[in-house]
């Protein structure tokens, strides 16, 4: 089951990357890319050098968001948990945007986004606590509060910022992969790898959470420590994803559900497969964003939200 699920995920991702490499507002000819001389060859190589890092960034961002969503869902035993809905993405965006407004180096924006994401997760968790446990309804309401607050901050910053700063606020609000570079992919990679490794290593312990925290503790799991690790690792993944691509919502909600429906709820399968399918989803969504109304691009955050909101509604109707 496990290797099967991962093989399917890898296949999907490879297929999505291939298609995404070939489609877009401008036609990319593989023949020209491989053997092209003169202008055609130049154009093809130029396109490839623009598209490849963008696909890489899309895959990493999608993987991070989906994995963070899957881990949060397991930890909170709540199928509606998602970094976007719980306010984590908003906190990350405020952190990164605040750093940009203060004129801090772009190198620090992942750190600022992580701090924002962790603070948001912590605040939401505290708000949702009731008698020592996280209450499902309160959690969603707390996420709602956090999102309203963060979007208010971003909008306020947007209206006082001028010119270039206002443009970057829009980037944080709508999400964009348009300025992907190989350097950004390289900078995101270690964070993604570290966060993913921590969460996948915690998968077996997360499995025990599904039988209840007390039972998990009785089975020898240090539940408080696991909770903290999973919270921090998913905040890190969300934070870096937002720092490099702005807020792209609903990926962390959609993907784990799809994977669970296909492969069951074993976190050891679910977490890595969610990463792969999340990567696939964002790579595909970005290809649509590039190609649909070229030469203008759709904001990718709007695209995933248009896809995610109906699924969210459907989940809500199904949840008892």
């Amino acid at each position: 089951m496990r290797t099967g699920a991962i093989a399917v995920g890898v296949l999907l991702l490879v297929a999505a990357c291939t298609v995404a490499f070939l489609v877009g507002g401008v036609h990319l000819s593989i023949a020209d890319l491989v053997a092209g001389r003169g202008e055609e060859g130049q154009t093809a190589r130029l396109l490839a050098s623009l598209r490849a890092p963008r696909i890489g960034l899309a895959a990493l961002v999608g993987g991070c968001l989906a994995l963070a969503g899957a881990a949060l869902q397991a930890l909170l035993k709540n199928p509606l948990a998602d970094p976007f809905l719980l306010g984590t993405s908003g906190g990350a965006a405020v952190g990164a945007a605040g750093a940009a407004l203060l004129g801090l180096s772009p190198l620090l924006s992942p750190a600022a986004a992580f701090v924002g994401a962790a603070a948001a997760s912590l605040g939401v968790a505290l708000l949702a606590r009731r008698g020592g446990r996280l209450d499902l309804q309160r959690l969603l309401l707390a996420g709602l509060i956090a999102n309203a607050f963060f979007s208010a901050l971003l909008l306020a910053a947007f209206s006082i910022a001028s010119g270039e700063a206002a443009r970057s606020m829009l980037f944080w609000m709508m999400g964009s992969l348009a300025d992907a570079t190989p350097r950004k992919v390289a900078a995101l990679f270690p964070y993604a790898l570290a966060g993913a490794a921590v969460l996948v290593a915690a998968a077996a312990r997360l499995n025990l959470f599904s039988v209840g925290e007390e039972n998990a503790a009785a089975l020898g799991v240090d539940t408080e420590r696991t909770k903290r690790i999973v919270f921090l690792a998913s905040s890190l993944l969300t934070g870096v994803a937002v720092a490099f691509a702005g807020v792209i919502g609903f990926v962390g909600l959609l993907v784990p559900h799809a994977v669970r429906a296909a492969f069951g709820n074993d976190q050891r399968t679910l977490l890595p497969a969610s990463f792969l399918v999340g990567a696939t989803l964002v790579v595909a969504a970005d290809a649509v964003a590039r190609a649909a109304i070229a030469p203008v691009e759709l904001p990718i955050g709007a695209l995933t939200a248009a896809l995610g909101a109906p699924v969210f509604a459907w989940l809500l109707l199904r949840t008892p």
Binding site: Q42, T43, L46, L47, L50, S159, E164, D179, A294, P295
Partner: protein, 285 residues
């Protein structure tokens, strides 16, 4: 500095909210009020300020928008906000005429002023024809119909001269970027699209209406021959960065001819846009 080129994103949002917001009420060319000409005028956009001065009524201005910096005399007039108009500040100036743009001026403030009973003239700007009829409309409201007619006729004559000069010339494939990164172009249905066409250029994004933000792939591969960009101290650094390492640093665009035009003249739909028309046509010959 120009509102449009400095903040095209805000500009696009403003014009969008205008589209979905209240319907613009076009001012009637000459109603009772203009019998005695207004002497307390507020202009809510820099191009409107320029039109008022060009009609010789600069003395009547008591308030202007944030970026009104031309002619020099405009700098000394009280400011009433940029894209976000401060309606209370405008009202406090007790204007007997408020000039607003059909595109770009905050719609909410304009309807507030109208509801408060202030005489508001909404001036169109979406084409070169609209700029001319805007001048005539402002003239009528200022009680300077003859001056406006003379100015508009003069501009029309110069426009026709340009048309004669560029007739039959080969039209270079052109992009006019009002902002470099992300690259935002002047598309169809804008006065700058008219400007390009009439100056003898072929706007590559004429079939996209408004101010489209172009994808990096498109900008890197489109066979553009001429790049028209606004030039000002405030924008120079951003364009330099885009040419050095941004969207303008790769592909055919690096070999395109670059024509830099004074930002405030280029991006404001006022009388000076016809100077720019002549200049651009001249540099293409």
């Amino acid at each position: 500095m120009s509102v449009i080129a400095r903040q095209p994103v805000l500009y696009a949002i403003a014009s969008f909210s205008l589209l979905v917001g209240c319907r613009a009420e076009r001012a009637k060319p000459a109603d009772r009020r203009s019998v005695s000409s207004p002497h307390r005028v507020v202009a809510l956009a820099p191009n409107l300020t320029e039109i008022v001065f060009a009609l010789g009524a600069g003395d009547s201005l008591v308030g202007v928008s944030e970026y009104s910096d031309f002619p020099d005399a405009a700098r000394r007039i009280a400011r009433v906000g940029g894209l976000e108009v401060d309606a209370e500040k405008v009202a406090a100036l007790r204007p007997d005429l408020v000039l607003a743009m059909a595109e770009g001026t905050a719609r909410g403030a304009v309807s507030m002023l109208q509801a408060a009973g202030l005489p508001v003239a909404v001036v169109p700007s979406g084409s070169l024809d609209a700029v001319l009829s805007g001048i005539r409309l402002v003239g009528a409201r200022l009680g300077r119909t003859e001056e406006a007619e003379r100015l508009a006729r003069d501009l029309e004559r110069r426009r026709a001269d340009v048309a004669r000069r560029v007739a039959g010339r080969r039209r270079p494939r052109t992009l006019l970027l009002v902002w470099p990164d992300p690259p935002q172009a002047a598309g169809g249905g804008t006065f700058l699209n008219d400007l390009l066409r009439e100056a003898g250029a072929d706007n590559l994004v004429a079939d996209r209406s408004g101010w489209p933000v172009l994808s990096p792939e498109y900008v890197a591969t489109v066979p553009v021959e001429l790049l028209v960009i606004p030039d000002s101290e405030q924008t120079r650094e951003a364009y330099a960065r885009a040419f050095r390492s941004g969207p303008l640093s790769r592909g055919p665009v690096t070999r395109a001819r670059v024509v830099r035009l004074d930002e405030s003249a280029l991006t404001r739909p006022g009388p000076r846009v016809f100077d720019v028309l002549e200049k651009l046509a001249e540099s293409l010959s």
